[in-house]
């Protein structure tokens, strides 16, 4: 443990730390598309880096790299990976 996130959403995670998606607040077309790319509740995800201008974020999920904007990432509520049953 020890990796307690400062805020429980994906846009506020430290770089390079695995977290698990818990649930999504306010699903819309964009979040559904992210669902299709593997960002579903229960999935292990990691913020790889932010773009030089601070937005968007690069995420690693399901062995692929996906870019999302901060506003979209902020709707994914996460919990530390240690709690996940992998």
């Amino acid at each position: 443990m020890g990796d307690i996130a400062p805020s429980p959403h994906l846009a506020a995670q430290r770089l390079g730390v695995d977290v698990v998606i818990d649930h999504v607040v306010g699903a819309d077309g964009t979040t559904l598309r992210l669902y299709e790319l593997g960002l579903v509740p229960g999935a292990v995800v990691r913020v790889v880096r932010t773009a030089p201008l601070g937005d968007p974020l690069e995420l690693a999920v399901c062995g692929t790299k996906v870019c999302v904007r901060r506003t979209d990432a902020a709707r994914f509520i996460v919990r530390p990976a240690a709690e996940a049953t992998r």
Binding site: A27, L32, Y35, P52
Partner: protein, 740 residues
């Protein structure tokens, strides 16, 4: 089915970057041809594959999609192909799910969705060589067991198609729909509506309604987010749309989640790595490490932008300078052809000769001259796309473009617009949403292209003599030139923001972008990407450009003045008879012809029109000669310069560096005797050309890309209005401020 009857059709479906196009090229060789779907410009490709048994099959390749709930026109094609909603292809005899072994779980999502539909499905695994070189192994048999459909590595696909298409092992249309929790009352209602809709669709396309309905719940979302609605489904999903948005998303989310769980189960242990380990560093394969190392530089906070500027600097340089010699070569070659043809045309039919040389051949030249820039731009785009860098560029630039309300992908077309709007408009295809694409297309011609340079140069040299300096150091002309470019960029961005908020109102496009692993581009793929773009441009836009060239030729030629032509020919004959052959005589003949040309143009329809609209042009500071130039420059902006040459009686070979043309223009006066080309007139004309849509080739390209005359006509209207208003403001404002 015997090999001699109609060939069976095979549809390839898969995620973007899944190796689908490589597989298609391997199957079909060079037989592929590109087609367009009506209403949209997304292309699908068809080719013939020869199977081991000698049987020929038609293979159809559609753009990649992550799911059957498409988010763009590109992706919608996959769904339409599946539903046989495509006039050319019909129902596929075999649907091949192309699955990238290096991203198995993500790829199997689409396969799981396809598996829910009663389709003749097989799975082809790609990138197995990458897995192997990383020391891993792919268990196709296990995946086949789990899916209940044949699974082979891509190289074995032809043999598999042979077996399934012959009667030996026909594919069962079994399907496997996911169970979803539909206990909530609202959810049940939505599903009931979807089922009803699905049954109605199924009656049309022959799929089992209840199962299609589950796909439809997700499918219908497409219909609300993209303009290319399939009319049939559109009608049936009205009921679904009436439901609260939150309910719909809830249903979709549950379906997607159930399917993701399935994809995860399917993918488990299919790919075994050489050294399984619990730490991340050890589980990273060699190919993943390569991508990570490149990205450490390409997406670095400081180095990343530097790489980006270098890459696009190179692209820009190529468009501007490398295309130039080839374009000159094409022009020279065509001039040579024109000379040969002109010499063989009967002298007794001067009008016919003129139509062929100045109309048709000039039109062919107007089309071909774009080929080098289009080829270079699409070569670069194909390299950037295939290597995976284009997605990185969109990632780096998204923040900037999002401010204007555009997608990161709009950057490449905007940049290309400085060279030429025509290839840039063709390049807008990478923009996913129709509205965002339209906004980009609408403002692209405002970016000052290279064809405006000759006009800018001529006007600045004529109206701003080189002596005037700003702050004692910088030439006034240089400041004007720089201002033109700044104004053009500002106007394009401002109008994009305006269109985005009014006419084509839509939210800033969402960014959901995959960063694929870096891969080396394949020569065949690059060749095909370039050749198909060039061919479709020449075929589709080329016909329009050719037609308008001939119309413009007619406007500048008719009505004829036989007396004048006869007098000219007589004078030429007299000169030729009286003077000894040589340079002096040639110049004399040229002068006579140029003078007659001036008179003929003034009497032509364009000349008369120029005179007729002179009162309208006066508030802008223009006279009829500029009017004729504007009409002629519709063929291409730089034609303005050569037309002024004709109008000033200097012949049609003058360019912007011609001192005699500048001198004639500087000597020209208004009715009251004041000089015509004052800095104020010059500025007015500059802003006119900055804003005006004086380019038939751009119109042809927009017509081709938007598939209607509506958008090009709107573009002409808004840009011409802007041009006239800007010129009036400059000229009248300048007058009020006491300038000449």
């Amino acid at each position: 089915m015997s090999p001699s009857s109609t060939p069976s059709s095979v549809l390839l479906l898969g995620n973007p970057n899944s190796g689908k196009t490589t597989l298609f090229n391997a199957l079909t060789g060079l037989s592929a041809k590109t087609g367009n779907y009506p209403g949209i410009t997304v292309e699908h490709r068809e080719g013939t594959a020869r199977l081991p048994s000698g049987r020929a099959v038609t293979v159809v390749d559609v753009p990649g999609t992550y799911a059957l709930a498409p988010h763009s026109d590109d992706e919608a094609v996959a769904v339409r192909a599946l539903l046989a909603d495509l006039p050319s292809t019909g129902r596929a005899d075999v649907v091949v799910a192309v699955v990238d072994s290096t991203a198995l779980q993500r790829n199997l999502y689409l396969t799981a969705q396809l598996r829910e539909l009663p389709l003749p499905l097989v799975v082809a695994l790609t990138m197995t060589d990458v897995v192997a070189s990383d020391g891993g192994r792919v268990n196709a048999a296990l995946l086949s067991d789990r899916l209940g459909v044949p699974v082979v590595i891509a190289a074995d696909l032809p043999a598999l198609l042979d077996t399934t298409l012959s009667a030996q092992a026909p594919l069962a249309l079994a399907h496997n729909a996911p169970k979803i929790d539909d206990s909530a009352a609202g959810l049940a209602a939505v599903i009931a509506a979807a089922r009803a809709a699905g049954t109605a669709i199924a009656a049309k396309v022959g799929l089992a309604g209840a199962d299609l309905a589950l796909g439809l719940v997700a499918l219908q979302r497409t219909l609300t987010t993209t303009e290319t609605a399939m009319p049939a489904i559109d009608a049936h999903t009205t009921a679904l749309r009436a439901l609260p948005r939150a309910d719909r998303h809830e249903v979709c989310a549950r379906v997607v989640q159930a399917r993701q769980a399935r994809a995860r189960d399917l993918a488990k242990d299919i790919v075994t790595t050489a050294a399984p380990s619990t730490t991340r560093a050890a589980t990273e394969t060699r190919s993943e490490a390569v991508t990570r190392r490149i990205d450490a530089v390409a997406l670095h906070p400081l180095l990343g932008p530097l790489v980006l500027v270098s890459v696009f600097g190179l692209l820009f340089q190529a468009l501007f300078s490398w295309a130039e010699p080839i374009m000159t070569l094409i022009e020279d070659g065509l001039a040579a052809v024109t000379d040969v043809v002109a010499a063989r045309l009967p002298a007794s039919l001067p009008l016919f000769s003129s139509l062929i040389t100045d109309g048709v051949l000039a039109g062919v030249g107007n089309v071909l001259v774009f080929v080098p820039q289009i080829a270079i731009l699409f070569f670069f785009l194909a390299v950037l796309e295939d290597t995976g860098y284009l997605a990185r560029a969109a990632f780096l630039l998204d923040r900037l473009m999002a401010r204007v309300g555009l997608h990161g992908r709009a950057f490449v077309p905007m940049l290309s617009g400085f060279a030429c709007a025509v290839p840039a408009i063709l390049a807008t295809r990478t923009i996913e949403r129709t509205k965002d694409r339209l906004v980009t297309i609408l403002v692209l011609p405002l970016i000052s292209c290279s064809a405006r340079l000759p006009i800018y140069s001529l006007m600045i040299a004529t109206a701003f003599s080189g002596t005037a300096r700003v702050f004692g150091v910088v030439e006034a002309g240089a400041v004007v030139m720089l201002s033109m470019y700044a104004l053009s960029i500002a106007s394009a961005l401002i109008l994009a923001a305006i269109f985005k908020r009014t006419l084509l109102r839509s939210a800033t496009p969402p960014l959901v972008l995959e960063l694929p692993p870096y891969r080396l581009p394949k020569a065949v793929q690059l060749y095909k990407a370039v050749s198909s773009r060039v061919l479709t441009f020449v075929r589709d836009a080329g016909t329009v450009i050719l037609a308008i060239t001939v119309v413009l030729w007619a406007l500048l030629t008719f009505p004829r003045d036989d007396e004048l032509t006869a007098a000219r020919d007589k004078a030429v004959a007299a000169t030729e008879a009286s003077m000894p052959a040589g340079q002096e005589r040639d110049e004399e003949v040229r002068a006579i012809k140029a003078q007659a040309g001036q008179a003929l143009v003034e009497r032509s329809a364009a000349g008369r029109f120029g005179h007729a609209i002179e009162p309208l042009l006066t508030p802008l500071g223009f006279d009829w000669k500029i009017g004729v130039g504007i009409i002629a420059s519709f063929a291409a902006r730089e034609v303005f310069v050569s037309t002024l040459g004709v109008v000033y009686g200097l012949g049609d070979a003058e360019d912007e560096t011609s001192t005699s043309l500048r001198a004639s223009m500087q000597k020209d006066t208004r009715a009251d005797g004041s000089p015509l080309y004052t800095p104020l007139t010059g500025l007015s004309l500059l802003v006119f050309f900055l804003f005006a849509m004086q380019c038939m080739s751009t119109i042809a390209a927009v017509k081709r890309e938007t598939r209607s005359w509506r958008w090009p006509l709107f573009q002409i209207a808004y840009m011409t209005t802007l041009a006239v208003l800007a010129s009036i403001v400059v000229f009248q404002g300048g007058r009020l401020a006491g300038l000449q």
